[in-house]
Symmetry: C2
Subunit: 108 residues, 2 copies
């Protein structure tokens, strides 16, 4: 482990800005298998509000982790998918899961 200097910009903070918060990782995780529509995402993450879902999707699109495809149909059909760099957060999610498991083993 090389040293990370904790400054205004540091790698920990960069990643925290990209995927920090209550919802972003959950959304990314859901998009891993295949692109999903808004309504499908809502179904998979039952306790997110529509507003937060849309807001966080926008956020992820702005930072290029997610892509939006509008099919231009009526009623509207829009699909969200992971970009290449979006897919690369998967190892992080895998680490989080594995940490949660170690934690529960140790504590419980």
């Amino acid at each position: 482990m090389e040293t990370i200097k904790v400054e205004a910009r540091c790698p920990i903070r960069t990643t925290l800005e990209l995927v920090g918060g209550k919802w972003k990782l959950l959304i990314i995780y859901q998009l891993f298998e295949k692109p999903l529509r808004l309504s499908e995402l809502k179904r998979q993450i039952p306790d997110i509000s529509e507003k937060m879902l849309i807001q966080e999707l926008k956020n992820l699109i702005d930072s290029k982790l997610v892509e939006r495809k509008n099919f231009g149909e009526v009623p509207p059909r829009v699909e969200y998918s992971l970009s290449e760099i979006g897919r690369k957060v998967m190892p992080l999610i895998a680490e989080m899961r594995s940490y949660a498991q170690e934690y529960e083993n140790q504590i419980m």
Copy 2:
């Protein structure tokens, strides 16, 4: 990757609760090398307020990631260190750093 069902309790959420937020991972990272006193931590994370530092340390102690040792001296001397399960978040931090780097390569 096996499926994680996104429910009230899921591994992503568990880990988010343990180390989510603006400061916890930075504190854990600083304690990796060796135990530090409050004043030393403050120096290493220049933009954290004393209140947040103490508050987050308490939080980490409650969840058993950090241990507190009071030397019972005057003026007070207290050292904070990572517990065994606290040390195990290091791979997660390593992933975050590596993700930040990939991200910057790709985007910039």
